[in-house]
Structures are given as C-alpha cells and as structure tokens.
C-alpha cells in the first residue's frame, strides 16, 4: 500500500511543479520592483498595484514548495524594504508569510484555475495589507490608518490584474 502511494504521488508532484528559468525569475522580480519604483511616479493610480506581491504569490503557487516560496517572498520583501525608508524586515516578514501560505495552499488546490487565482489574489493581497498594518503598528509604533473599504476594492483590482498577469507568466514556464 505504501509503495503504491509513493509511486502514485511522486510523479504527480513532479508533473504539477512548474519550472522557470533563473534569468526569467530574476528579471520578473526586478521588473516588478522597478514598476513599483518608477511607473507609479508617472501614473499615481498604479501605486496601488502591488506587483512584487503578485509575483511572489505566483511563483509560490507554481513551485508548490513552501520553503522556496518563503525564501522568494523574503528576498522580494527585503528588496522592497531596501527601497523604502522603513527599517528592513517589514515587507520581508509579510511576504515571507505570504510566500509560505501560498505555496502551502498550492499543494491542495488547482492553481491553474482563473477563478481560484482571482480568489487567491484577493485573499493574499488583503492578508498582506492587513499584516503590514499590524506589524507597522505593533513593531514600529506607527499610527497608520487601515481603511477597510479601500483595502477591499484595491484587493479586488489587484486580483483582477493577477489573473491576466498569471496567464502571461504561464507562457514563460520551461516545458519539456
């Protein structure tokens, strides 16, 4: 029974895991951060688009490895921290948790489903914003306002963008 179970599950895991070129991963991460830094300067509305988070969620979902997800989230988060005036670690901690939970979630659901991607994008964005707010208040003593209606609307907008972005990123998978 045990042999059958191992023999059945292992190929499935390998088949479901997605592979990406290292240059693609680095390039997309850098572009996401650059977008946050540069593009939002000229189109202020785009500052609500949290591309580093969407990219973190995507790769964590695709890799299906919680450890890989959390390290990727930590790397992106720390890079984002480095370009902010906050102490290093705020985005790092939040995105570490997002990467871990996204990867853990991907072990149980079909991450190719657009409706599910929409849902996950919404949930993880909201979780990200809420956790950042909690950490900023608790650890840094900042008095940032958390506006729930605005957070929900922005989460939905990010989730919609995530669906199209993920379809685009699907084409960059290494096949074969």
């Amino acid at each position: 029974m045990t042999g059958f179970s191992e023999g059945y599950r292992e190929p499935l895991r390998k088949e479901r895991n997605s592979m990406f070129n290292v240059a693609v991963i680095a390039g997309i991460s850098l572009l996401a951060i650059l977008f946050r830094v540069y593009v939002s300067r000229f189109i202020p509305y785009l500052q609500y688009l949290e591309l580093p988070l969407l990219v973190t969620v995507y790769f964590s979902l695709m890799w299906r490895s919680p450890i890989a997800g959390l390290f990727f989230g930590a790397a992106i988060g720390l890079a984002q921290d480095s370009l902010s005036h906050q102490p290093l670690g705020m985005f790092g901690i939040v995105k570490t948790l997002v990467g871990y939970f996204a990867a853990s979630m991907s072990l149980r659901v079909d991450v190719g489903n657009p409706v599910l991607r929409l849902f996950l994008g919404f949930v993880f964005f909201f979780f990200h914003q809420l956790l950042y707010w909690v950490l900023a208040n608790a650890l840094l003593g900042e008095t940032l306002a958390f506006e729930l209606p605005q957070a929900l609307v922005v989460a939905m907008l990010n989730a919609i963008v995530a669906v199209f972005l993920y379809q685009l990123l699907d084409r960059l998978k290494v096949t074969g």
Binding site: P66, A74, P87, F91, E142
Partner: protein, 358 residues
C-alpha cells in the same frame, strides 16, 4: 529534535526566517541604525535601471515634442521656467528681507547675507513603501548631499533627505505622515509643528494651544527650530482652523507643491531669513489731484453720435422723437419748459399715414 525538524521542516524554516527578520528589525529599531549593505545593493540594482528608463522616456518624449509638436518652444519654455524659478527665489528672499525692516537696513542685511547655497536635483522615482511619500533624487554623496538636508522648491518646502547613496538619495516629502517641521505663523508669530497627512497638497499644524490666535488665510513659515529648514521659508496657507480639546486643529495648503514636483533644490548651506510681516491694511495710497473744473460758458454741446443708418425699431422711434423735438424747439432734459406729450404727435403722425392696401 531531529525528528521534530524533519517532521516540521517547512514550519521550522518559516519560523527561523521570521525570527531572523524580527531580530534584524529589532536591531534597527533599537540602535536607530541601518543595514546599509542590503540597501546599497538594492538601490545600486534598481536606480541605474530607473535612470536608464527615465533617460529613454524623456529622450523619446523630447524627440516628439521638440521636433514634431513644439519645435523650439520647449527649450524656451524650460529656460523661462528656470529663470522664473530663480526670480521667484530672489523675490521671496528680497520680500522677506524688506518686509521686516526699513529699506536701508534690509539692503544692509541682504548685502551681509548671501542666499542659501543649493544643489538642483531631479526626482527619478518613488520608493516602495506602503503609503509613504518618499522619492528618489538623482543626487547623492558625490554631489555633497548629506542626510538631514532640507529639500525645497521655489514655492516652499518639499521635504528632507533621509538616506544618501553615492549617486542617489531618498527624500521624505512633507506630505508623509511621519514628516515634521517647526513652523511659525506670519501674523501672530505662533509656533507649531507641521505634520504631513499622507496625501498631496495638505498638512496639519500641531501643538498650537486653543488660547493662541491663528487666522484663516494666515501663512506659516519655517521657524528654523528643527535645525533642518532655514527660518523664513514658506510652508503653506491656513485653510481651516478649529478649536480642539486643548490644541487647535489647523490645516494648511502646502505652497511647495503648486507647480508639481519634478525638480527640487537641496539646501547645502542654509541661510535663515526673517518672517515677513503681515500686510498693512491701512496703507497710504498715493492719489492724483482731481481734474480742474471746467468753467468756460462756451462749452461745446456734445451731441449723441449717430453711427450708421437707422436700423431697429428703437432707432426709428428715437429718430421720430428727435425730429419732433426739432419741430417744437424743445431741448431734451428740460421738461419744465413745456415739453410736448410725445405720445400724441407720434400717434397723430401714425394716424396720418395711409395704410398700404394688399
């Protein structure tokens, strides 16, 4: 222990990663220090690319606007804008100098003090902080920039330098919620603390007691108490003032953001300037002498001008009255001398006219 780590490997790594970052965070908060190496790497990786993109974008933009749309107007506009900014700075300086003392004394002060030494910088991008109003500028330690230096525009204060790298710096804008600066009101010389509200164009003045007097429309200037901004730089105009529990709620419209925020000046060597006095309301105004009274008896009678042919019904009626006045010898405006009833002759005139038969 080994069993635990192998059984809960993912969770163990997660806890380790979170703890490591918490320690990193605690170290920074506790020592008020910074992990400079990581920031230098990140800034070094991103800002050159942002600069390349900005150069490409501005190059393409300039190409189209220069050669296809505006030809030489853009250069002239840029030159005039620079000139205008410089003149506005000079004007502001001179105005603050002249309004506090008499002209001779102000000129003496002006001669003694040179304006603040500044370095011009271009904003290259926003930072990634959530809700933070922090921007990158293309000047760093190579240009003599240091943390804590004031950043201004010709219209007012814009922010302060928080972190400096070799070719770039981070500027905390006045609109950020964590920004604070010492200010003083123009009319009543009330001291307070300016704080950003997190959105463009507005700010709040704190620590002003209810007993102190601040008027709507009054201007606030930097007081120099914060040792960052030189005294006398405009901050903003009071839009609303309310009585609070113990302190007033004062909101101001920022003056430094009037013309957008593309280029800024970093004060390398600041010069304090006095706060300009409130404008004097009962100011003496020079009036010319009244024109001499015309006493000549043979003053020509000015006739109303008749321009063009009689066109409208009103013109025709007026013409009829004029003819009637000529026939009866009546001068208009002297009714007491037996002016005719104008309606009767007009009706009579109309009744004399034979209607046309169809």
């Amino acid at each position: 222990m080994e069993f635990f780590l192998s059984r809960y490997r993912n969770l163990s790594v997660l806890v380790a990663a979170i703890l490591a970052q918490l320690v990193l965070l605690a170290y920074q908060v506790k020592t008020n220090g910074d992990v400079r190496l990581i920031r230098v790497w990140a800034v070094g990786a991103v800002t050159p690319m942002a600069r390349v993109i900005e150069t490409g974008r501005s190059g393409v933009s300039h190409f189209f606007s220069d050669y296809f749309v505006l030809l030489g107007v853009r250069d002239e506009n840029k030159r005039m804008k620079t000139e205008l900014d410089r003149v506005k700075m000079d004007n502001q300086y001179l105005r603050t100098e002249l309004s506090t003392a008499d002209r001779a004394r102000s000129l003496a002060i002006f001669q003694q003090h040179s304006p603040s030494k500044t370095v011009a910088a271009h904003i290259t991008g926003n930072t990634t902080g959530a809700g933070a109003k922090v921007v990158f500028i293309d000047r760093g330690s190579n240009s003599g920039i240091e943390p804590g230096m004031a950043v201004i525009t010709p219209d007012g204060i814009a922010g302060k330098v928080t972190k400096v790298f070799s070719t770039a710096s981070m500027v905390l804008l006045v609109t950020d919620q964590t920004f604070a600066a010492g200010v003083i009101s123009q009319n009543n010389r009330v001291h307070g603390t300016f704080k950003g509200l997190g959105y463009e164009g507005s700010g709040k003045i704190e620590h002003v007691q209810n007993e102190q007097k601040v008027d709507q429309g009054e201007w606030f200037f930097t007081s120099g108490d914060d040792r960052i901004f030189p005294k006398g730089l405009p901050v903003g105009e009071v839009t609303t003032v309310h009585q609070g529990k113990t302190e007033k709620d004062i909101f101001v419209t920022l003056s430094g953001f009037r013309n957008g925020l593309e280029e800024v000046l970093i004060i390398v060597e600041g010069v304090h300037a006095p706060i300009p006095d409130a404008p004097v309301t009962n100011q003496t105004v020079h009036l010319m002498a009244p024109p001499p009274v015309d006493t000549s008896a043979a003053a020509p009678v000015i006739q109303p001008l008749q321009t063009g042919p009689v066109a409208t019904d009103a013109d025709r009626t007026k013409d009829q009255y004029r003819k009637l006045g000529e026939q009866t010898g009546h001068v208009y405006g002297e009714r007491s001398k037996g002016a005719p009833n104008y309606n009767t002759p007009l009706k009579a005139e109309k009744s004399d006219a034979k209607p046309d038969k169809p």
